[in-house]
């Protein structure tokens, strides 16, 4: 790293850390129903929304009703989007006359946006109308994020409350989250992004004349759309001269802001946040990384405030920061030392394949670890073209279960499940009944925590196994050898953990990935969510156990180190064999020179 990269990285983290406390305490106020500086404007809106939709804001829910409301709401969201995607050709705001999605792709896309995954097996600028992008997808970016945060808040209440079955009202939590947190930050962020050059308009795509025309060989098609082949079975092509190109337009900034803030990650364009209209300058890049980490980071402080000991939150944040910075360091190292097979050809030895120049090496790599440590999944460089160990970093961050900052809400509640496992294991070692935040950890809590942390991993391993024996799944690989396995593993890991980024060479718009992917996203989102709510329900009913001499202090550095080790050990035990066959074999192949 040169001194500029050090400087921008350090300034970035200083800004991030400076925002954790103000935003974290603001969110705590919002969810505890206290007045905030936005209340004079938003409280009346909130009342109107409850009146129209028939929400009784004082009507608190037990865990089953809370989970039921989450599932019901998500079902409605899914059905709404699925129908919209199938009928987008009939709907307004479609100046490019794009056709409807196939049902398999619509299913995959609808599940993807509802589960906060934003896996995209379609090319945004070609397949989605403005109406779909704005009304269909952007709204899911808000409410799927709000759903995750609401669940996390309910889980925190489970720790805080004593001898009650009630965890709050999902409709109120979701509404307040959207109105007070997501919308105001998005409006400011979107405007800031426009200042850097992110577009925001409803114009038809623009055509410009090229200064120097270009040409390409286009395969000739017969009437049925099949390629015509000559006698030697080679496709017949015709040379096409291109004198003008079409530049896509659209309401990008409004979607870009919430896409990062809600750790959604679904790009307006195929190139996602690498596209100059989504991410035009180094500053817009840093702002987008900040938006990705902002809410997951600040929620640790919210957690601290609500449980009455902010050190508990800082400790979790410390663990997240430590692993994130470590991964960033490794990625910087391997990408800066480049690909020896390319260097051998006489090229400067850094890896610029799949990176845009303006972000710089640190700006690309910081984005990569932020987007995969959280479940965002937006990309500003192509992960498929990272060096083998470089590619293993985002893959590993996803496989750890999206806890290194993690998805909005989901990152915190999954991290809490890990904390419970860590408390339990250390309790076993010293022979004491494990407690966390004054609540006894018993069989039910352990079962639920294990469900939370292992569901996605098991789904990934089983589906990757099935993929390897499915010809269609194997044929989708775009690179040969070990790298192909990495592509498949990455795709299924990304969907099961609701990340949404890809080793994008993989041709994902085939039935196998559309259908099994929908399954992976559904299981990976809702099984942990329901399990953690079930745990919160049982925690809320327990009485408070005051800390005694035998209580493990969970707000001190030794516990942070212990928690880090537990996370790394669980991750390594689950995935080392698969990683050894993919990225590690490829790394050795690369060093061996063939």
């Amino acid at each position: 790293m040169n001194s500029y990269e050090w400087l921008q990285t350090i300034i970035f983290f200083v800004v991030l850390l400076a925002l954790i406390k103000p935003l974290g305490s603001f969110m705590a106020k919002v969810f505890q129903g206290e007045r905030t500086f936005l209340s004079p404007v938003l409280a009346p809106c909130e009342k109107v929304i409850y009146r129209i939709s028939g929400v009784q804001s004082e009507d608190e829910m037990g865990w089953k009703r809370y989970a039921g409301s989450v599932l019901l709401f998500n079902l409605v969201l899914f059905v709404g989007l699925f129908i919209l995607l199938l009928t987008q050709h009939l709907l307004p705001l479609n100046p490019q006359k794009v056709p409807a999605f196939s049902w398999q792709l619509a299913l995959n896309t609808a599940v993807s946006f509802v589960t906060n995954t934003n896996w995209q097996a379609y090319v945004g600028e070609q397949a989605a109308s403005y109406f779909t992008q704005m009304v269909g997808l952007a709204v899911h970016n808000f409410v799927s994020a709000a759903t995750g945060i609401a669940i996390a808040i309910a889980v925190i209440r489970g720790f805080v409350r004593r001898k009650t079955a009630l965890l709050g009202n999902f409709w109120v939590d979701m509404t307040r989250c959207t109105l007070y947190i997501l919308l105001p930050i998005s409006i400011i962020a979107a405007t800031a992004l426009v200042s850097q050059g992110v577009i925001q308009n409803f114009s038809a795509y623009k055509t410009v004349r090229l200064i120097q025309s270009t040409n390409y060989d286009k395969p000739k098609m017969d009437d049925k759309g099949n390629p015509i082949k000559d006698t030697a079975d080679k496709p017949v092509t015709e040379n096409v001269i291109v004198k003008e190109v079409t530049i896509p337009m659209g309401p990008v900034a409004s979607q870009e802001a919430i896409k990062e803030l809600g750790t959604n990650g679904g790009g307006f364009f195929n190139a996602n946040s690498a596209h100059p209209f989504e991410n035009p300058t180094p500053l817009s890049n840093m702002l987008e990384i900040l938006l990705i980490l902002l809410i997951p980071g600040a929620l640790t402080y919210t957690f601290g405030v609500m449980v009455g000991n902010t050190r508990q939150g800082w400790m979790l944040l410390g663990v997240m920061l430590f692993i994130l910075v470590g991964c960033f360091g490794v990625l910087q190292g391997v990408e800066n030392s480049g690909n020896p097979l390319v260097a051998k050809l006489g090229v400067q030895s850094i890896n610029m394949e799949g990176k845009d120049l303006r972000f710089g090496m640190a700006g690309s790599n910081l984005f990569t670890v932020a987007t995969t440590g959280t479940s965002c999944g937006a990309v500003n460089s192509m992960h498929d073209s990272l060096t083998p160990i470089g590619g293993m970093i985002p893959l590993s961050l996803i496989l750890l279960g999206e806890i290194i900052f993690g998805g909005v809400g989901s990152g915190l509640y999954t991290m809490l499940a890990f904390a419970i496992i860590a408390v339990f294991v250390s309790g076993l070692m010293i022979g004491r009944t494990p407690e966390y935040l004054g609540k006894k950890i018993e069989v039910r809590e352990m079962w639920m925590s294990i469900l939370v942390i292992l569901t996605a991993g098991i789904t990934v391993l089983i589906l990757s196994g099935i993929a390897m024996i499915t010809p269609q799944a194997v044929a989708s690989m775009s690179n040969p050898g070990a790298h192909g396995l990495s592509e498949v593993l990455y795709a299924l890991a990304s969907m099961a953990n609701n990340n949404g980024s890809a080793f994008a060479g993989l041709n994902a718009n085939v039935n196998f990935y559309n259908l099994f992917g929908s399954l992976a996203m559904t299981v990976g989102r809702y099984v942990p969510a329901v399990a953690i709510l079930a745990m919160a329900g049982s925690l809320a009913e327990k009485k408070y156990v005051p800390p005694s001499l035998g209580t493990l202090p969970t707000d001190k550095a030794p516990f942070a180190i212990w928690l880090t080790l537990v996370i790394l050990i669980v991750g390594a035990l689950t995935f080392f064999p698969a990683l050894a066959l993919g990225p590690i074999v490829e790394h050795l192949t690369m060093l061996g020179g063939n």
């Binding site: 709404g80 090229l210 990176k355």
Partner: protein, 189 residues
């Protein structure tokens, strides 16, 4: 099942707020404060006709122009309707051959020594408007010969169009290829 009503109605309400009001507010703010950026940062000629966006690269392969970074967009390079990278893995033989071919093209124009990575490795967006100053200087000899202007003049133009790090520390120095080539055409048509 008293929660069915809020589920459906909140979906509709938030679709209106997040899908309608929110983008409309952002569009209003964008047009009021940053109209040029909101509509794509286009460069226009004297008659007001749009030549291209400073953010989206144009394809150039003529020796008299500076060339942009390689682009892996489908159909033809720098196709704005098909943004994306090559997604080639680092050990893929086809990819290594492609890089080798690009180096050969450069060597044929008289380039010697180490080639900057950005000039032979494809960008992420396929529309990267910039090259590094090193990659621009590497092309000066070819462009000068083809246009019959002195290398010193071209080096000055490159230096003039080089964008420094934002605020002095963010990103890296870069040259906008479209802006540079338009400047060349203005100086020596």
């Amino acid at each position: 099942m008293k929660d069915i009503k809020p589920a459906i109605l909140l979906f509709i309400i938030f679709t209106i707020i997040c899908g309608g009001i929110y983008p409309a507010v952002v569009t209003g703010l964008a047009y009021a404060i940053f109209p040029k950026q909101a509509t794509g940062s286009f460069i226009t000629d004297n008659s007001g006709k749009e030549i291209g966006s400073t953010l989206i690269s144009h394809p150039f392969s003529d020796p008299k122009y500076f060339w942009p970074r390689p682009s892996a967009t489908s159909d033809f390079g720098n196709n704005p309707m098909a943004s994306g990278g090559s997604n080639a893995g680092p050990t893929n033989p086809d990819y290594l051959k492609t890089v080798g071919d690009r180096i050969k093209v450069l060597r044929d124009t008289g380039v010697t020594g180490q080639v900057p990575a950005d000039l032979v490795q494809a960008s992420a967006s396929g529309l990267d408007p910039h090259i590094s100053p090193e990659s621009a200087l590497l092309q000066v000899q070819r462009v000068a010969k083809s246009r019959g202007v002195s290398e010193d003049v071209l080096k000055k133009v490159v230096a003039k169009t080089t964008e420094e790090r934002q605020f002095g520390f963010l990103g890296q120095p870069r040259v906008n290829v479209l802006v540079l080539n338009l400047e060349l055409d203005r100086l020596s048509p």
